[in-house]
């Protein structure tokens, strides 16, 4: 009995998880608001039904355990057991179906193509009328107050795209396109997470989503579309040489340089992103160096091989160069 009475308190430390950058209860977009309203309504209804059912059990089994009128019992079974659930579930279904088109409403111009990889995200921005995308990776940027379409697919296995604070989730399939749209209405940085088990590092396949005022977004997109700005300083310049010597460009593109690889994430502006390694590390020189030195320890079965033969100075230089790609 003592244990049971303490259980609710044991759950208290979990409550802060209900707020923050990755919570369906702390919303920052129209679609998430809708889903949250739905959640509260259903929760409230659930509480009412739960109290009613348990209340009746209490009344008929314990407080008034005599033989009841059979006609009343039959009415209660038909009314409460057949008609009420039919009405409630039909209403919920109608409501649910009615908001589903909103979750895929056409956007206001921008389309973002997101491709699930093992275990990271290719992100291609297609502004209205664009013939070629602005290529980025592992981060989503969205204009606030506008609806943005997401064109989702995957390379090898099924992934699922989910930014809880902004909206629902949508699966990403190899060889098939799925579509959703998001309408953020608050500026901020929100965490997204792959929501479909996709292999050893599924839990480490995340990304940051940055929502910003439309004019800031336009400026950001213009910069993102441009070539890399080589960072200055002796260490960063040495890092650029290490990048070339070690053949990093075989897998990674840094636009405006000879590096045009397509296997891994585009690094043209990697230093300006809010995370490293698809949402798993803070972007610092130390973390860049650690990532390059022992990728597999930080993300099991990752495709990128470890460069653990690089001397420490070269590693730091390379990390400094990458951090400088703003």
């Amino acid at each position: 009995m003592r244990v049971r009475s303490r259980l609710p308190f044991a759950l208290l430390p979990g409550l802060p998880g209900c707020t923050g950058r990755q919570s369906v209860l702390d919303t920052a977009g129209t679609d998430a608001h809708t889903l949250l309203t739905m959640f509260w309504v259903m929760l409230a209804g659930l509480v009412v039904i739960w109290v009613a059912v348990n209340g009746m059990m209490l009344v008929f089994r314990h407080l008034s355990p005599r033989r009841h009128d059979e006609a009343l019992a039959r009415k209660m079974i038909v009314g409460g057991g057949i008609m009420l659930p039919t009405v409630v579930i039909s209403a919920l279904l109608a409501w649910g179906l009615s908001v589903m088109p909103d979750q895929r409403a056409p956007g206001d111009g921008l389309r973002v193509e997101v491709i699930g990889e093992q275990w990271w995200w290719r992100v291609h921005y297609w502004p209205e009328g664009a013939e070629a995308p602005v290529v980025s990776a592992n981060e989503g940027r969205l204009p606030g107050g506008l609806r943005t379409e997401f064109d989702l697919h995957s390379d090898k296995v099924i992934h699922s795209f989910w930014v809880p604070a902004l909206g629902g989730k949508m699966d990403m399939f190899p060889g098939r396109r799925t579509m959703m749209s998001l309408h953020p209405d608050e500026a901020g940085v929100f965490r997204g997470q792959c929501a479909e088990f996709c292999g050893a590092s599924h839990a480490l396949m995340a990304f940051e989503t940055v929502t910003m005022p439309p004019e800031d977004f336009a400026a950001w997109l213009e910069h993102e579309a441009g070539p890399a700005v080589p960072p200055e300083g002796e260490v960063a310049e040495r890092g650029a040489v290490v990048f070339a010597e070690q053949g990093c460009g075989a897998c990674h593109a840094v636009r405006g340089t000879a590096a045009q690889g397509q296997v891994g994430p585009d690094l043209t502006h990697v230093g300006s992103r809010h995370s490293l390694g698809a949402g798993i590390l803070e972007p610092t020189v130390e973390n860049f160096a650690a990532w390059i030195d022992h990728t597999g320890d930080l993300k099991p079965e990752v495709e990128m091989p470890a460069y653990d033969d690089l001397p420490g100075d070269d590693l730091t230089a390379l990390a400094t160069f990458l951090m400088g790609l703003k």
Binding site: G249, V263, D309
Partner: protein, 352 residues
């Protein structure tokens, strides 16, 4: 019943006593001079023949043994690894193998009527208790050049063998082991044989790592493991320095006539795909600096490149300290990719 058991037990004790006397009492005479008892050579030889017959690979796996350079490469390995026991075509065996039991047959006699697949099995697996060693590597595709050579042995005279295995005279001051290496690779690192990689395009660091990896068995090749372990490790470094100091001949090692293949290879090598990294980022040709641990591929032999790419893709190639990079890079290659990349790289002008 009891009597039967008693008799069996008595015989078992007697057998164990006899065995013990032979093993621990030294009763059996292991003298090679004494040879085998009558009938034993027949039993051993018949067992050997039938064992090979049963286990040899299917003839369909035999590659084109008449491909250019196969016989010469096989002869080079034979010269360093096999001649000591089996003698070269046109020569008599020296004294030692003739007093071994069983004595290694002269190579013409050894090849006998064995098929190429059977010869491959014998060279690969060796023959227990005969002195015939097994192939000193896990990878067995480079046994085929040896088989190609063995196929030619029957009609080969001493002069032809001498030409195939001639050790060129080397300039003054060259490493003392250079003639041995130059037998296959040429004094300047240009073999002229599509089966044998050219070395005049490689930086010193790559050659050093590679020779040490061959010597220590970290790179898998029976031919090069034998070659690299005949030379002292310090001498390997001198040889690496020698070949790295040779002038790079710009001309490609092998002419390539299939232009479609070359064009397909160019796109893949220069830009890569979502599955395949761009080769030129590490292996050139490119304007930016390249690490000296990465081999240069421009102008390399197409046959050698294709063979190495298959080994990388299929696993177990081994290599230097950075082999994890290439193992990852090659995993998505198709046979068509390999043909195209090899053709393109072979057609490129060489540069170090």
């Amino acid at each position: 019943m009891k009597r039967v058991l008693q008799t069996l037990a008595f015989l078992a004790v007697l057998g164990a006593a006899a065995g013990g006397a032979i093993v621990f009492g030294g009763l059996y005479n292991v003298s090679a001079r004494e040879g085998h008892w009558p009938g034993v050579p027949f039993v051993l030889h018949t067992t050997f023949r039938n064992s090979v017959d049963l286990r040899a690979p299917d003839p369909s796996v035999v590659p084109d043994l008449e491909a250019e350079g196969m016989v010469a490469l096989g002869a080079g390995h034979f010269e360093g690894g096999c001649k000591v026991c089996h003698a070269a075509p046109g020569q008599e065996r020296w004294a030692i193998p003739t007093v071994m039991v069983p004595h290694p047959p002269h190579i013409k006699e050894a090849v006998g009527t064995w098929s190429p697949a059977e010869l491959h099995w014998i060279v690969d697996e060796g023959v227990k208790m005969s002195g015939m060693p097994y192939w000193p590597a896990t990878r067995t595709d480079d046994i085929w050049p040896v088989v190609a050579f063995l196929q030619e042995v029957d009609g080969m005279d001493a002069d032809t063998y001498g030409e195939l295995t001639a050790r060129p005279s080397v300039p003054e001051g060259a490493p003392p082991d250079l003639p041995y290496c130059a037998m296959c690779h040429g004094i300047e690192g240009r073999s002229g044989n599509p089966q044998i990689p050219r070395l005049d395009i490689q930086p010193q660091a790559y050659l050093e790592q590679t020779l040490l990896a061959y010597a220590e068995g970290r790179r898998d090749s029976g031919i090069m493991h034998v070659a690299a372990t005949r030379v002292a490790p310090a001498e390997l470094l001198n040889l690496a320095a020698w070949f790295a100091a040779q002038e790079t001949a710009e001309a490609p090692a092998t002419p390539v006539d299939d232009l479609n293949l070359v064009t397909a290879g160019e796109a893949l090598a220069m830009r890569g795909t979502k599955e395949v990294p761009a080769c030129t980022s590490c292996h050139g040709p490119k304007a930016e600096p390249r690490a000296a641990e990465f081999p240069r591929l421009g102008g390399q032999s197409a046959v050698y490149l294709a063979q190495q790419l298959r080994l990388w893709r299929d696993g177990g190639r081994g290599g230097g300290d950075r082999k994890n990079l290439m193992a990852k890079a090659a995993q998505g290659l198709t046979d068509a990719d390999i043909a195209a990349l090899s053709a393109w790289y072979a057609a490129q002008p060489a540069s170090r």
